[in-house]
Symmetry: C2
Subunit: 197 residues, 2 copies
């Protein structure tokens, strides 16, 4: 069965997934890069147990540094002509845009009617494979709506002081999960939660 997963979100000990003042020059915000340095230590080899992801849902803030209406259709994400997704990506936004088909199997689809609609479209696109949810604000929305089946967070031993929070007032959304498992490697903590059966 297709699961809805957060497949590895790096977070500072004080709860930020990006620094403050995200911009085109600073997509991870000020000091946000420190959240991702552990990756260069850890060999990026895909394991047999890695989930097979058939579609991705992300927030507009992850797709683009712009806010408000699209200035034009020129912006196609941070990732160049061949983005690393190689699958359909559903971008939650208040502002409609035509679909964009990139090289390598990635396509961007702009969803303006909310989380449940994005999930329904992603389920069709994923065709039984898993659906990953990306971006702090979007993950929060999914957690509050109790739509996440597996949540993988990487806690990085830095303090950012301010920035984009991942977990804020989850409320009842937190009850959806069992006690997680935690292991350390490359100086960070890998924490995995599963939905309570």
């Amino acid at each position: 069965v297709s699961k809805v997963i957060v497949d590895g979100m790096s977070m500072s000990v004080d709860g930020y997934t990006a620094g403050p003042d995200q911009s085109f020059e600073n997509p991870l915000g000020i000091n946000g890069r420190s959240l991702h340095e552990w990756m260069s230590v850890e060999a990026g080899t895909a394991g047999d147990n890695d989930p097979v992801v058939g579609a991705t849902i992300m927030g507009r803030n992850m797709f683009s540094p712009h806010r408000g209406p699209w200035p034009d259709d020129a912006w196609n994400g941070w990732w160049g002509v061949n983005p690393p997704f190689h699958r359909p990506v559903f971008v939650l936004t208040h502002y409609p845009r035509p679909d964009v088909v990139m090289e390598g199997g990635t396509s961007f689809h702009f969803v303006t009617d909310g989380v449940e609609s994005a999930l329904a479209r992603a389920r069709v696109a994923a065709a039984g494979n898993d659906i990953s949810v990306s971006g702090a604000a979007t993950i929060q929305q999914f957690l509050r709506a109790r739509l996440i089946d597996e949540l993988y967070v990487i806690v990085v031993p830095v303090l950012l002081g301010s920035g984009v929070t991942l977990f804020e007032n989850l409320g009842d959304g937190a009850d959806a999960f069992d006690v997680g498992t935690l292991s350390a490697s490359s100086g960070v903590a890998h924490v995995r939660f599963r939905r309570t059966p």
Copy 2:
């Protein structure tokens, strides 16, 4: 030299050091007990490297379930006649009270003129040993004022959803620390930060 330390504060992955609705019956708040279960797994043996603490500073909310003016002088903490501190404890409060001398070397001193004053008095009492700071709100105040030298946080793989936050808007206070070290044992992450020299 006497250091100001946070000597092991348990925190959920979503940033809470206690659950919501702390009360006399529920001093750790709803579900807060899950933050401390790892301790029963880990043998509580003092190591040679454990800091020697000569005085403790805590917030009034850690000392007592009451809020507002003291109803009387009957409440002497949660810990019985022989509290586990065995040293002077300085309680930050807006409401004065006479000192209380307990068994086993613990005494409670009520400080109404703020963090710096409590620290000055604790330094004298500690006589060159370290000073520990306890309680989420008090630790936050000290972090914002950049008064902490060593910060030891235990990240527990649970999501509480709401409760008492440890790190909230540290702002510049976060810059006081180097990248921390992280290790896992008993299913939790031990994260240690030191003040940047």
